[in-house]
Amino acid sequence: MNSEQIEHEGIATAALKVDEPASLELRAVTKIFGGLKAVQGVDLVVKPREIVSIIGPNGAGKTTVFNLITGIYRPTTGDILLNGKSIVGHSPDKIVRGGITRTFQNIRLFNNMTVLENVLVGQHTQLKTGILGALFRPPRTLEEEEKARIRAIELLSFFGPELVARQEEYVMNLSYAERRRVEIARALAANPKIILLDEPTAGMNEAETLDAVKYILRLRDEIGLTILLIEHKLAVTMGISDRIAVLDYGQKIVEGLPEEVRRNERVIEAYLGKQGAESVDLSASEENN
């Protein structure tokens, strides 16, 4: 990071600060698809300004938990509370308004829109222009659009100058790591209090991963977000999480500090099977499948 960049990150984040950090709570959340119990009675508490990771083998139901929180699925039973108020049954957009945004495991950007437009869509809830505003473009609307544009650039500048320079670029021309950043910028655009990151370092090389870790930490430290994370790279999770919850077959098998989880027998077993657990130390494995 060069000095110029650091200097301006200050400007960017100041505008993004979250005033009241929020908490999230899952109470015995269960989701059944047909006969399959994808998530079973998961309890989870994420305190304000905390980074909590969910880990677990493939198919453990991690992404389903995210889909439940963000309203894409409705839990079969159980309750999800944002700052103590239930958000079960709310539509995804209402949940975004409530202050929870997310990214997706297999990046879901609007590929045929520019970087800037993507972030502008993210600000949808923040803008008020209605049909009449769109048609007649009163000064109020123009000003709002201008502000939205500036804010979008500020959001992009959170990740350094490269994305700002490429704001007019169509996202499909960006590199994988850049697209992840744009996705996070889009999620930030809705002024969230809590952000859910679904494998934010998947498909990244080491340098990019390191960079990602840095900005995830900055999301909390500088902006004040509460972060719920799904991550496969154990080195990443262990490094940045305040707490880790482990899912297996839809159930939470362990929850605790990174150190506790690392040593837990059941976790090792779930990850590597019984035999593997005996021979391999989990902390050494950094596989990312």
Partner: protein, 313 residues
């Protein structure tokens, strides 16, 4: 009571024809997600081919056969096979010319091309046999009397034929190598081709079967109904597509059941007297069918038998 049973029978045999057309719709949709608007017109061409083949075999509307003989049954079987094959070939040709080049085009391009094909088929048929309605030769089928009910054997035949064809199709799809390949292509074209499946071949085969079924439906239609016209296909096709959607698109049994349901409903609607609806039920039948469809889809968004559309999150 007698009236209702008769309505039911009429409805079932109408439904059988819808079902056969719907099968083709649903197969094509299942494999390339294209609403093949030309499918109804292939059925129409099937009825025309039936007339042509029958007259080639000496069965004409002016000189209909007087009695059922084994010779007649043989001839009719020949006509049926002919209609199936000719329409199937037509289906392949259409796929090759109008749809295959658009495989990777924007989603609506093949739809417009399908509409174009439909127009081409209609006008070609018009050039072939003219604008007017054309009568089918009347086949003197015996009527079975069961107590107070009189059932024309042709109705039984129509329903049975549809069921048999559906079962064959179901076996083809679920039990054979070809069917497995079809399902694979439907799931993921690229992966299927990586597994060594000839994707173009499979899609062409699907069109072959689907269009062939429409041809067979054309033949069966000729047995049951009095006449045909070049405009017959499009609307019938739309209703058949509705049946496929009603049953859950992409699902063979669903298409069949949807066909029978719509057929029966339609025949009952037609019996609604003018005192209830202005101009009696006939004038409203499509409106009511589509209204029912909407109602059903509102409560079951993927049709009666369909699974929820997978949406990868």
């Amino acid at each position: 009571m007698v009236t209702y049973v008769n309505l039911l029978i009429v409805g079932l045999s109408l439904g059988a024809i819808y079902a056969l057309i719907a099968l083709g719709y649903t197969m094509v949709y299942g494999i390339i997600e294209l609403i093949n608007f030309a499918h109804g017109d292939i059925f129409m061409v099937g009825t025309f081919i039936t007339i042509a083949l029958m007259s080639a075999l000496g069965i004409t509307a002016n000189h209909p056969p007087t009695a059922i003989t084994w010779l007649l049954v043989g001839k009719l079987a020949l006509v049926c096979v002919g209609a199936f094959l000719l329409c199937a070939v037509l289906g392949i040709v259409i796929e090759r010319i109008a749809y295959r080049p658009l495989r990777n085009a924007p989603r609506l391009a093949p739809l417009i091309s399908a509409i174009g094909v439909s127009l081409v088929l209609q006008d070609s048929a018009k050039l072939w046999m003219g604008n007017a309605q054309i009568s089918f030769p009347n086949i003197p089928t015996p009527v079975i009397t069961l107590g107070v009910f009189e059932i024309d054997t042709v109705d039984i035949f129509v329903v049975l034929a549809a069921l048999v064809l559906m079962i064959c199709l179901q076996i083809l799809i679920t039990r054979t190598r070809m069917g497995r390949a079809m399902r694979a292509v439907a799931q993921d074209r690229e992966a299927a081709s990586l597994m060594g499946i000839n994707v173009n071949g499979i899609i062409a085969f699907t069109f072959f079967i689907g269009a062939g079924l429409a041809g067979a439906a054309g033949f069966i239609y000729a047995l049951k109904f009095p006449n045909t016209q070049f405009t017959l296909g499009f609307n019938l096709g739309l209703v058949a597509f509705t049946c496929a959607v009603l049953g859950g698109i992409g699902d063979v049994v669903g298409a069949m059941v949807g066909g029978f349901i719509v057929g029966v409903i339609q025949s009952f609607i037609a019996a609604i007297p003018a005192s209830v609806l202005p101009h009696s039920g006939n004038a409203w039948q499509y409106a009511i069918i589509f209204a029912l469809l909407i109602l059903i889809l509102v409560f079951r968004p993927s049709g009666l038998f369909g699974q929820q559309t997978p949406d990868k999150v």
